[in-house]
């Protein structure tokens, strides 16, 4: 019986909601109970974006993620805002290209990933989100290529099927580094 809650947070346009949706779909395909809840409203327009994802062996109660097990912070305001909310023993993934400071807490595990730089070096500047998601799955021992590809197919429209491999490769970048 396990329930894991994720909070993805960053700027609008970084693919925060997409990353969360991918993870939720993967959970669904793995036979889990899942929920995905975005922040909505004016703050979406160019400001901060966030979404909470819950993946569970049992039916999801509240879909609201106030104290995530896993925080993905893709900009400084997000880390400032949510760092203290992470449960003790949780994990924080930091985009270290955009966030220069270190996580202050010592009761959580932290991964610093220069995702935005990796994305840009890889000539896929819009995929920093998926680079981190790949690392998240890897860290949780949950990176099975087959279910990753199936989930990608669900979130990438058929018209953009060429993006599938590009996303998959991006997801491996941080793991290899």
């Amino acid at each position: 019986m396990k329930t894991t809650s994720f909070l993805f947070a960053g700027f609008g346009g970084q693919g925060i909601l997409f990353a969360g949706k991918f993870l939720a779909y993967k959970g669904l395909l793995d036979g889990k109970q899942v929920s995905w809840l975005p922040s909505y409203g004016p703050e979406m327009r160019g400001g901060t974006a966030s979404c909470g994802v819950i993946i569970s062996d049992t039916p999801v109660g509240s879909p609201i993620v106030s104290n995530p097990d896993v925080l993905v912070a893709m900009n400084l305001p997000s880390l400032d805002r949510y760092e203290d909310a992470v449960v003790p023993g949780g994990i924080i993934f930091v985009d270290s290209t955009l966030i220069e400071r270190k996580v202050k807490r010592d009761d959580v595990k932290v991964y610093y990933i220069p995702a935005t730089k990796l994305a840009s070096d890889n000539k896929t500047p819009t995929l920093a989100n998926m680079i981190i998601v790949g690392k998240v799955l890897d860290a949780l021992n949950d990176f099975q290529e087959e279910s990753v590809v199936t989930a990608l197919k669900k979130v990438i429209s058929a018209k953009r099927a060429d993006m599938l491999d590009v996303n998959l490769n991006a997801m491996k970048l941080a793991i290899e580094n």
Partner: protein, 354 residues
Amino acid sequence: MADKVLMKGNEAIAEAAIIAGCRHYFGYPITPQTEIAAYMAKRMPKIGGCFLQAESEIAAINMVYGVASTGLRVMTSSSSPGISLKGEGLSYLAGADLPSLIINVQRGGPGLGGIQPSQSDYFQATKGAAHGDFHMIVLAPSSVQEMADLTVKGFELADKYRMTSMVLADGTMGQMMEPVSLDYDIKPMPEKPWATTGTKMERFHNITNSLSLVPEELEQLNFARYEKYKTIEEEEAMFEEYMMEDAEICIAAFGIAARVAKNAIVEARKQGIKVGMIRPITLWPFPKKPFEAAAEKCKQFISVELSMGQMIEDVKLATGCKAPVTLCNRAGGMIPSPQQVLESIKEAANGGAK
């Protein structure tokens, strides 16, 4: 599992409506339900349906009135301030005994309020949508699956009883994504000999009308409508019971509040507190019977709401003051946390309401 897809609550409502045979949608943009209109705008032209963005909420509900008069399944959706504007139309729909489906994805109020989730339109939906003696069937989904299921159910009940069904959701339900299966066996619509679709020169003219200037006659119309409501109260109340078998404390909550309450109940049970929940799925008719039964054995009720306390009045009525009913709430777009609900449960366990 394989047949399930991840959908936003708002989109699930739209697709379920289409599956239920709705081919006419009229609406006006308002957060947090605009995905419904966007979905309809995309889909309707491809399936021979009609999506039309109306000039106002008032126009939209009256377009609904027009299509409903012809006997077709039709819907509109809005959020709290927009529903207030539709009030006039809701009353006319009731007065003319027309079936229709209205979606309210609630946000905080009053006035322009905010755009975050709320349940503060409970009174409006269940008791006072507009002038005159009338009810709507009010359905309160607590998951994306139920957003879809209750949309289909809403159409069926509307046609069965010739009245308006309202799906009373909130911003969370509308915006969240969950796995949903849209596998429905849609029953054929009942015959609608009253529909104004042209006489074809084969019958006397039909009239869709809510005007009745003779008070004796209007009284009879009201009596007849309330007979129908009585049947609905007896036959259509829906609810879910959660861990109620041995419960000493009973939570009453619907929609997102019930989801939050479940977390708290699981935690409280770990601490040895015997707490359960009755989750009304129909808010009108209010499921009185499970509350009457619970009042015989529970020492306290807690109404968990995203409002200043509205459903609590129905809980008090249904439990007949046999046990105290307290309120655990947030308002204005805020959502109670599981911890807050847990505190209320603990307080009840440690001696209950003062």
